[in-house]
Amino acid sequence: MSLQTLGWLILAFPLAGATIIGLTFKALPDKIHGAIGTLAITLAFVCSVLALLKLTDRPQDAREVVAHGWDYASSVGVDAELSLLIDPLSLMMCLIVSGVSALIHLYSTGYMASDRGYARFFAYLNFFVFSMLLLVLAGNFLVLIVGWAFVGAASYLLISFWYRRTTATRAGIKAFVINVVGDVGLVLGTYFIFKHTRSLDFLTTFDRVDDVFTRNQADLVAGCVLLLVGAFAKSAQVPFHTWLPDAMEGPTPVSALIHAATMVTAGVYLIARMHPLYEQAPAAADVGSVIGCATLLIAATIGLVVTDLKRVIAYSTMSQIGYMIMGVSSAAYAAGMFHLATHAFFKALLFMAAGSVISAMANLQDLDRMGGFRKALPFTYGCFIVGGLALAGVFPFSGLFSKDEILSIEFDRGGWYVVLGVLGYLGAFLTAIYTFRMIFRAFHGDPVPEAQELIDGHLHHGDPVNPATGEPEDTEVGFPGPDHHIAERAPGMKGAMAVLAVGATGLGALQIPGVTDVVHSFLEPTFEDSSLYASLEPSAAASWIGLIAGTLIGLAGIALAYRLWVQQPAAPAGLQARFAALHRFFVNKWYFDELIDAVIVRPFAWFGRFARNTFERLIVDGAIVGGTSSVVRAGSAAVRAVQSGFLRAYAALLLLGLAGLVLYFLLSSS
């Protein structure tokens, strides 16, 4: 089997899975749908692995393979065929996406077992994986955009999976619209680039970049910044991030898969993929670095104060993607991609564990209501600890290696990038605090009633209530039943979490400074045209210093968290009171929602109302229709008034007309 065929197969399995489930959702029993879905993704993963083997067989300079499908929309100078680009970068993404997805599918078979929308869920999920794989395998801009939008659509469908919650549908539409903004940025950026390169094909474009663009040429910078808009929207970077916390309305596996492991990292992939452009337009790349850095800090500060379990993880996701964006924008391609991979593992793990807790809490996600689950959910607790350590960056967990590689490259680049590195460490400290704040608050302390019930063996809870609105949930369709779905009791969930925990722990081994260099060298063919890729290679010693510093910072954060939330549970309240303004600022998420509301939503809503109530009524119906018709009507009234019925008036008009006519003829006579 050729690489091209494998590429197509990687796409084909999830699509087939989605289609089959969609078509047979009434005909087959639910369990089979879960199996089909999981199998489809597993097969895609297998194909990815096979492709990896094939690719590594090839010589270093022949590791960029293009698979041509058919002309998709090629005409009048636009070359838009359906083509895939299989190279180390895309294959790495394939492996991550299909691998993590397979595990999450497995987890979902347990977690969603009593949900009435079981089949629908797997269809959506398979469709999402297909879209994501299409995105990463895309061989040209158009296919990339298609995949880009499809994942947005799938994300929308999954966020509003429990569509009878108005909160869910609202979150869905918000996510989708912001994603469309991203799509627009992507398309517009593509236009700027296409205008000069006259090709949509990636390889052709990259070949021509240096010829057609001068360094920092305005069009190129504009195009790259617009591409960044796409990346930011998808990866929840400031200021396009507001959808991500709301997206937690979706079922937890969705959060794990889409809003942590895969989709939100698409922006990172995009920047890495477009590196020849960004290297020619460093100004745009710097925008990415700065925004990434800003996001990682902003998200971390919000993460400190959020009380919703899933949202804490969501903000941590934003923050971690900030690292990645910062990294790939600063030419730390391999490091960024590596962090993407490790993050996928530990973040998915965290979400799954959180799902377990939430299920135990009957869908309540509020940290204030939680506590003492350590005994009730020991396995979940273990997973949380592993994920938390990886996230906080403690040796030897994977997160440390990947994050510190990014930071050490920032330091290596020198100049103002050093600031970014320092801020990165500050972020790491905050990360450790909020991560363990979450863990301590959920698992330590006295068991809440739910935890106690679980310890007592109680397996069901009452009618679900929407935590956001307080209204009773409509469980008729698409909502978990009264059963608890906790990792402790579902082997599928447990297995998936275990695998991820292993990955989260050990994946760092791929890139141990001075020891292994797997990721970097594997990605080399993709980045061989990059001038920075090879040159930015911090020394092993510097890296090790970074690692140690990272670990120490992480441990310090954990210690602080332990002190605040375990040893002195009253302290946080005191801090809150002391820094009330700051706290309010963080709790209100830096007022981004309000800002966007005021700057964009309200003006548009006003415009809509103006259009409907004023413009349409006054101008379109009033001036144009009404004006014309009232003139005509006035004329009609005049004509009818003259038509008075008085015979003599008729004769008078006749004579008047006659006099006028004769006058004309008199005047025109010689």
Binding site: F646, R648, A649, A659, V662, L666
Partner: protein, 210 residues
């Protein structure tokens, strides 16, 4: 001589016309018109239109005007106010219109470059305007006009019959009598009133007539 006759006849014609318009009793208007027609006949004679003049007197001033007299008598020669419904404005406007038209026509007549109008007229042969000449023309060049005119008379007769014929149930029984000429008929002109009162008026009229 011709001038004197012309002026007398012209003044007669104009006076007759003015009288027709200005006299308030339709009956007198008719008489004024007869005067006007006779004056015109004189003018026709001055213009060497013997046959036309004769026809004017015999047919027009004679026969046609008699019709008018009868009808005036029948429907009542009541006086009427000269100012009425459409408002006094109409009178002034009509005077202005008529005046404007007159000025225009005068300009046309006086301003023309047609030399034939300046003199007494072109030369003519002896029989000009005689019945014989007119008859010949009518039966040759104007044969169609002649025929159509005769047909028109037929049509007018038929039309008048249709209109004036008495019909069952359409109008109250009434007869034309000499007395009608002199009796004031208050009951006409009530059409603007509501139906009920009109029916009453109709009944009343029937009684009066009987």
């Amino acid at each position: 001589m011709a001038e004197v006759v012309f002026f007398i006849a012209a003044i007669g014609a104009i006076a007759g016309a003015a009288g027709t318009v200005a006299l308030r009793n339709p009956f007198f208007s008719v008489l004024a018109l007869v005067g006007h027609l006779l004056s015109l006949a004189a003018l026709f004679l001055l213009l060497r239109a013997e046959f036309v003049a004769a026809a004017q007197v015999v047919v027009y001033a004679g026969a046609v005007m008699v019709l008018y007299v009868f009808v005036a008598a029948y429907v009542g020669g009541q006086d009427e106010a000269l100012h009425s419904a459409p408002g006094p404005g109409l009178r002034i406007t009509s005077a202005i219109f008529a005046g404007a038209l007159l000025v225009e026509l005068c300009i046309a007549i006086l301003g023309t470059g047609l030399s034939a109008l300046d003199g007494d007229g072109a030369g003519f042969f002896r029989a000009f305007g005689s019945p014989g000449e007119i008859g010949k023309l009518l039966l040759t060049d104007y044969l169609l006009a002649f025929e159509v005119a005769s047909f028109l008379l037929l049509v007018a007769a038929v039309g008048a019959v249709i209109l004036a014929r008495r019909r069952e149930g359409l109008e109250p029984a009434g007869t034309i009598s000499v007395g009608d000429l002199f009796s004031r008929q208050d009951d006409v002109g009530v059409g603007g009133e509501p139906e009920g009162s009109m029916l009453e008026a109709e009944a009343g009229q029937g009684e009066v007539r009987r």
